[in-house]
């Protein structure tokens, strides 16, 4: 892809005490693409999301959004610029009905300024827009799912609610932290077209996933992390073919074991 990348990450380093969660990770994100980030447990995937969106303070390194340095800014300022995230452990507002969950992002300064998703931030009745967004993202309006309390919704809907909360802000970049995890196969099957549709709407996505098959279907590029370091970056095919990645996932002895049985 050509042109200036929408997000430039340079030498991202984060140390928790003596543990290097991220060690000089650099990558570019181009407008309109989907970048997958994979890696074994504890390889620093979520730390990447947390540090780009300002939820943790970096030890060193820089993050540029559209050429502007956003390192060290508070999370709400970064979200206000259009870099939004979902949480791996869902964080809905449990005491509110699902559609009221979306009134909050629609009430935010960004939504008021940009109009929010489908212009909802400017309209008087944010409740209605909230229900529309939920319907668009797969809440069945006819069975009153949008009206249910968030605390009564199953995981599949909560994952969608996380995405809807980002969407309501009319984001430029969405960082999805494991939106497929904990979902059944059929639920994932309906999420994949949704992700593709977001890309068609012009939203740039970073997706952290353990469900590699589904991720490789949607991602344009994949980056592999291992022990906080960038192992490699490339298309789904090259990553899948890489010996190094297999080693990172299965350990070096087991790869031979697996290969023998394959």
């Amino acid at each position: 892809m050509t042109g200036e990348p929408i997000l430039k990450v340079r030498d991202l380093t984060k140390a928790f005490g003596g543990v290097l969660a991220l060690n000089r990770v650099s990558f570019d994100l181009h407008e309109g693409e989907i970048l997958g980030i994979i890696g074994p447990n504890g390889s620093g995937k979520t730390t990447v999301v947390n540090s780009i969106t300002g939820f943790i303070r970096l030890t060193s390194g820089k993050v540029f959004f559209r050429g502007k340095d956003i390192t060290g800014k508070p999370p709400h300022k970064i979200a206000d610029m259009g870099v939004t995230r979902t949480f791996q452990i869902m964080r809905p507002y449990y005491s509110l009905p699902a559609y009221k969950n979306l009134v909050i992002p629609l009430f935010s300064p960004r939504a008021k300024r940009t109009g929010g998703w489908r212009g909802g931030g400017r309209l008087g009745d944010r409740n209605t827009v909230g229900i529309d967004i939920l319907e668009e993202i797969g809440f069945e309006r006819d069975s009153y799912v949008p009206y249910k309390l968030a605390s009564t919704l199953p995981t599949g809907y909560l994952k969608r609610l996380e995405l809807a909360r980002c969407l309501a802000l009319k984001p430029e970049i969405v960082l999805c932290d494991e939106v497929f995890s904990g979902l059944s196969m059929s639920e994932i099957a309906s999420m994949v077209p949704l992700i593709e549709r977001l890309q068609m709407e012009g939203i740039t996505l970073i997706m952290i996933e353990h469900r590699l098959r589904e991720l490789f279907r949607v991602a344009n590029r994949v980056m592999v992390l291992n022990f906080g370091e960038k192992l490699m970056e490339g298309t789904a095919e090259t990553v899948m073919a890489s010996e190094e990645v297999k080693k990172a996932y299965f350990g070096s002895e087991e790869v031979e074991e697996v290969m023998k049985h394959a």
Binding site: H76, T84, F87, P92, Y147, R165
Partner: protein, 337 residues
Amino acid sequence: MTAEQGRKERIDRGIKVRADSIYALMSWRELSYLALPRLVLIAGLLVIPLVMPSMYWQRVISIVCIYSLLALSFDFLAHYVGLVSLGGAFFVGTGGYIAAILNKSLGLSPLFTIPAATLGGAAICTVLLLPCLPLRGVYFAIVTLMYPLAFARVIEALDIFGGTDGIMGVASFPNQWVEQYFVIAVVLLLLFGLRRLVNLDLGLVFRAVKDNDQAVRASGMSVTYYKAVGVFIASALGCLAGACLVHIYMWSGISQFALDFSILPIAATVIGGGGTLVGPVLGCLLLVPLSELLRDFGTLRIVSYSLILMGFVVIRSEGLMVYGQRKYHQFERWVKV
């Protein structure tokens, strides 16, 4: 009928449809079903001063309203913004002293001192509490508890604002009726106002901050800012209570920083039912007269007082109004199996 012969059926009255905020009113009966409890509350509060036997008890009603404002402030902060405040005394003292000083030194009438003390006091309280707003946990409660203690000592030690004697001779309300109906009207207005507020978009943001501040941050909003707005509203309520109290007693002193103003509203909220807003007002309506009745017992007053509280916590910890609302919206009947 017993459990062998039938089962208890719980029926929703069906007026709330789909969501909490949407009502479908089909008849006068359903309309009155919603309106009656509110009318009873309004009419009840307006009639109370008329049926009180003596001046003394009329004064008690005014004090009930003062405590109601504090309880509303506590309930709003604790259940809608997620900040547990022990700052009733802080708010009352700040509002009270501002009103007293404005009245004595500038000669302003209560008509001006009360609004000025409300807004000015709220601004002062909010600024002083600002440092602990970005933190989660018990810090807010501790700091709100600390300020009134510190202020009382500072006034005592430096002998400012009348020192231990306080500021005497503050102007009173024109007469007892104006005083009573003013505070009652204020309580009613703020009660219904707050109930409206928590269902507005702004109020939803407050509730979201309580539920999940990280998600609010991720939605591009500053949690500290909205907490500050919530604290401003709550401390305005408290300072208003303090200003009224000063004009009722015609005196302002360090006893307005006493912890009673922090603790009794919390007890009233426990009894009345937290999160309902109307519950704390009813709690005050029960607790304040009760503590007046128990005045004859001297220090034993606290014992009986604590026993009642204990009883409520053990037997009906959800509070009267939460229980009442649930029973009102659903009814139960036995049916044959």
